[in-house]
């Protein structure tokens, strides 16, 4: 089976069906057995304004990152697509509307800006949509039909996917979409003389197990449900809103409660309250909401109450760019807030690990009686993958509270000093298990205590949890472990890790001896493993999506040696092409 890899982008205006066309494409390709990763970008503004891009990567092999430049750009809207041409490969295909309803003024048509080397195919999208259904709404389906014909994709399978997508709608909607698709397909087959090499002919991968087509937000919600979440409080914010939306529907069905609060301070307050009451509780937010929550996060650590915050990062500071991805809440997640405030921070590296991280977060928060932050980002929240149906967590992860035994309850010390920093936790109402709980520094009973020795002892207790927490973290992912020495080691975190691992493969093809390291747990950090890895590498490169190199500064303190940084704040996910270029220059 030959390797096949293609990136298709659909660009239109909000409301033109750009995203739904991308979704149909992804579903169809997944059904055909291909690996897919798709990522949409759209404006924060209301529908009807602004540019939308549905980006889909389709491959016969494992996909690590969405890829930077597209092989095919379908332009549903000339104005927006002109700027999107910069994301099309030099020899990419442009599919555009050759019969728009109104003539273009000079330079207002996308094809006028295609570079020599790009191959453009004009399809009368608008005209064919009218022919199929009497209006322009089906242009997206006409375009999919055109692409299917151009790339030799099975039209019957595709129309089945359209029927599934619109299955719950009226028959006339289904028919209009299918007819529009077929118009595009047939017209293209008859009229376009293809001169490019892209083709799906003979590229049908062997059918795999049933796959789930899902994004990070959906997986977080699903994981929370299987991990016995019983309380969610939150305030909607892009890109985390979807988590709350799903849980508002599903959590009550599982016997849980969802509370929409007036703001994020209140949300985390309610979560800590529920945690105090012995419930598994969490909230999800983004940078600006997380900033408000830091008001309360210290309480979770100080009072040793489990709390989970999902922070899906977006470009900041402040309101920033709500629909653009960034990894710039690292500092704030790992050390934001007041005092010496250790907390666990997990940064899933791909869609699937959003599921694992959420289950782990609820478990660790409960077991270690502390705050756990899970750092997603706009890209992880929204990019769609087809993955194997995730396994249910084992019982260990579902009930992790260390409850006081009879002996403990004789003289119950809620903050008893233990080797691993974890004290038995009584749920309010436990006979004999009463205790004080405030945000003040306290003694073992929870009574306020400001003594020098007491503050030191309690601070040490809170930090002691870190020693054992690390043993519960999944092992860092290291590529190309079979060698002893590397010219370049890439250390990455969060959503950039996929691109880093992919780069290692392409670098090796170019003769660059490279490896990569990433850890889902970033606080506490597996420092020993990191140092061992770095010792094998002549040079270290740290790519991340923020301006100041937040993680690079953090890693430098551990490694105590200079590292090369690669920072982007383009609002787009990390691209392996950019990492590779940097490696060539190193």
């Amino acid at each position: 089976m030959k390797e096949f890899n293609i990136i298709i982008e659909i660009c239109g205006s909000a409301g033109e069906g750009t995203i739904s066309a991308g979704e149909i494409l992804s579903r169809f390709m997944s059904g055909q057995g291909f690996e897919i990763m798709s990522f949409d970008s759209y404006p924060a503004e209301i529908r009807g304004f602004g540019k939308c891009v549905a980006h889909t990567r389709i491959s016969t092999n494992r996909i690590y990152s969405p890829g930077k430049l597209a092989d095919v750009l379908i332009a549903l809207n000339d104005k927006h697509s002109i700027s999107q041409l910069s994301a099309l490969k030099e020899n990419g295909l442009l599919i555009y509307d050759s019969q728009p309803p109104r003539p273009h003024k000079e330079d207002k048509s996308v094809v006028g800006w295609a570079k020599p080397g790009m191959i453009s195919y004009g399809i009368p999208l608008n005209m064919l949509a009218h022919k199929a259904a009497g209006n322009a709404r089906g242009m997206n389906m006409v375009a999919l039909g055109a692409v299917a014909a151009l790339l030799h994709v099975d039209q019957h399978g595709f129309t089945d996917s359209i029927k599934v997508r619109y299955g719950k709608k009226k028959q006339i909607v289904i028919d209009s979409n299918v007819n529009s698709f077929l118009e595009g397909y047939n017209w293209t087959e008859k009229n376009i003389k293809k001169i490019d090499p892209h083709s799906f002919k003979g590229m049908t991968p062997s059918k795999q197990k049933e796959k789930l087509i899902i994004n990070g937000n959906q997986l977080v919600a699903q994981a929370a449900l299987v991990a016995n979440l019983s309380f969610y409080a939150g305030y909607p914010i892009t890109p985390a809103t979807k988590i709350m939306e799903i849980l508002s529907r599903e959590l009550p069905k599982h016997g849980g409660v969802l509370l929409q609060t007036e703001d994020e301070i209140s949300a985390i307050g309610a979560v800590i309250g529920a945690g105090f009451g012995g419930k598994r509780a969490m909230t999800a937010t983004s940078g600006p909401g997380f900033a408000l929550m830091t008001e309360f996060t210290g309480l979770s650590v100080m009072a040793e109450v489990p709390a989970v915050i999902i922070d899906s990062q977006r470009a900041g500071p402040s309101t920033g760019m709500p629909t653009k991805t960034e990894q710039s809440d690292f500092n704030s997640a790992v050390s934001g807030g007041t005092g010496d405030c250790p907390r666990i921070v997990l940064a899933p590296t791909d869609t699937k690990s959003c599921y694992e991280a959420t289950i782990l977060a609820l478990y660790l928060a409960e077991k270690y009686q502390t705050l756990v932050v899970v750092l997603l980002d706009f890209f992880l929240s929204n990019s769609i993958r087809n993955i194997n149906i995730p396994e249910k967590p084992s019982s260990k992860y579902l009930d992790a509270n260390i409850a006081p035994d009879k002996n403990d309850l004789k003289d119950y010390q809620r903050y008893k000093i233990t080797k691993n920093g974890v004290s038995p936790r009584a749920i309010p109402g436990t006979p004999g298990g009463m205790f004080f709980s405030t945000g003040l520094e306290h003694d073992v009973y929870g009574r306020p205590n400001y003594s020098e020795a007491g503050h030191l002892e309690m601070t040490q207790k809170r930090f002691a949890k870190f020693n054992t927490v690390l043993s519960e973290a999944p092992a860092p992912e290291i590529s190309a472990i079979d060698r002893d020495e590397f010219d370049i080691g890439i250390i990455s975190w969060g959503s950039s890790a996929g691109a880093a691992h992919e780069t290692v493969m392409s670098a090796q093809k170019e003769g660059i001896n490279a490896s990569s390291f990433s850890s889902m747990m970033v606080s506490p950090f597996p420092e020993k493993a990191l140092i061992e890895f770095a010792d094998k590498c002549k040079k270290i490169l740290i790519p991340e999506l923020n301006f100041s190199g937040q993680f690079a500064s953090f890693a430098t303190q551990i490694l105590k040696r200079p590292v090369e940084r690669l920072n982007f704040i383009t609002g787009r996910p990390m691209a392996s092409e950019d990492i590779l270029q940097k490696m060539r220059d190193m």
Binding site: S98, P103, H104, D107, K193, K194, I195
Partner: protein, 343 residues
């Protein structure tokens, strides 16, 4: 903002590209745009047959000297067909419904395959080798096919015949001596050519015509009026080239077979010039128009049209005399040459 001229060139062949290059050399500030309805950058048509046979790769088919349009600040619009010219408002109407304004225009739209009137009803069954797009449509099929029928011919047809022969294919050729392109063949020439072709695995049919071509299960049955019948995989037509000028109809530019231009390559409309194989050029010495053919002529004419558009008064002359070897027959040509790479 100072007003800069916008020179637009229709056509991305040798005439168009040499015109653009000359314009840029002489005028550093003007906006220059090349428009072509083909989707690929500037390439050597004469090497298309080598490309079919995989003797050269796509990269070697491309002409390199203008590959850096960006450096020369020449805007290139590919895959965009000019549908109509309005010479009054100096506007071009493109097929995808974009309008482009020009201050001066050079038409270098070349030529396309000529289909003989008798053959037009079989046009659906015929294949051509006139452009990269044509070739991409048939390349794979040629590789797989065994039996070919060629209506010919012309100079390219004979090149193609040699190619098929070298690929071990079986070929039948029907030569129309009275419709040979660009000159009719004399009986003498025809006899020599037939004799020369006898060393190949080729069936030559002369002094006959087609009575039927039909398509059965992907195979073509070709029957001549004298009753010869062949079953073949592909049928090709090589009957010369005719100027691409449909889009210029109704524009006010005078047209005959090609776009009529004077010896300075200017049309009857002040701001419009034409050159290369779309042009029919006035020759004062014979007081008549001749259609331009061949790559070297297109190059020279592109340059001359550009000079004159900028105010010069260069008279077009044909490039040096050559003899073209057509299967042993020396055809005197001032226009057709084996093309080496441009520098």
């Amino acid at each position: 903002m100072p007003f800069n001229d916008h020179y637009v060139i229709i056509g991305n062949g040798p005439a168009g590209n040499h015109a653009a290059r000359t314009l840029r050399k002489k005028d550093k500030d003007a906006k220059i745009t090349i428009i072509s309805d083909e989707r690929v950058p500037y390439y050597y048509k004469p090497k298309l047959t080598n490309f079919i046979a995989d003797e050269i790769a796509k990269e070697d088919l491309m002409v390199n000297f203008l590959n850096s349009y960006k450096a020369k600040d020449i805007r290139i619009r590919l895959g965009q067909e000019v549908e109509r010219i309005d010479s009054e408002s100096k506007t071009l109407f493109l097929q995808h419904m974009e309008k482009i304004n020009y201050s001066k225009l050079i038409i270098a739209s070349g030529s396309r395959a000529r289909v003989l009137p008798a053959m037009s009803r079989y046009a659906n069954h015929l294949k051509f080798v006139t452009s990269y797009t044509d070739v991409m449509a048939v390349k794979e099929e040629i590789r797989k096919a065994k039996d070919f029928f060629i209506f010919g011919g012309d100079l390219v047809g004979f090149k193609f015949l040699r190619l098929l022969n070298s690929m071990g294919k079986t070929v039948t050729i029907l030569i129309y001596p009275n419709a040979f392109w660009p000159y009719n063949l004399t009986d003498n020439m025809l006899a020599q050519i037939t004799e020369s072709l006898s060393k190949f695995k080729v069936d030559v049919i002369v002094k006959d015509d087609i009575s039927i071509i039909d398509d059965k299960n992907g195979l073509y049955r070709v029957k001549t009026q004298k009753g010869i019948e062949k079953n073949v995989d592909m049928v090709f037509s090589f009957n010369g080239l005719i100027p691409n000028i449909d889009f210029a109809k109704g524009s006010g530019v005078d047209i005959d077979h090609g776009i009529l231009v004077n010896e300075y390559l200017k049309t009857n409309v002040d701001s419009i010039y034409a050159c290369g194989s779309c042009a029919q050029i006035y020759n004062p010495s014979i007081k008549s128009y001749t259609t331009s053919i061949g790559w070297p002529n297109a190059v020279v004419q592109g340059e001359v049209a550009a000079f004159n558009l900028l105010g010069d008064h260069k008279i077009i002359e044909s490039v040096g005399r050559k003899y073209f070897d057509l299967e042993g027959v020396k055809i005197k040509t001032i226009w057709w040459e084996d093309i080496d790479d441009e520098v």
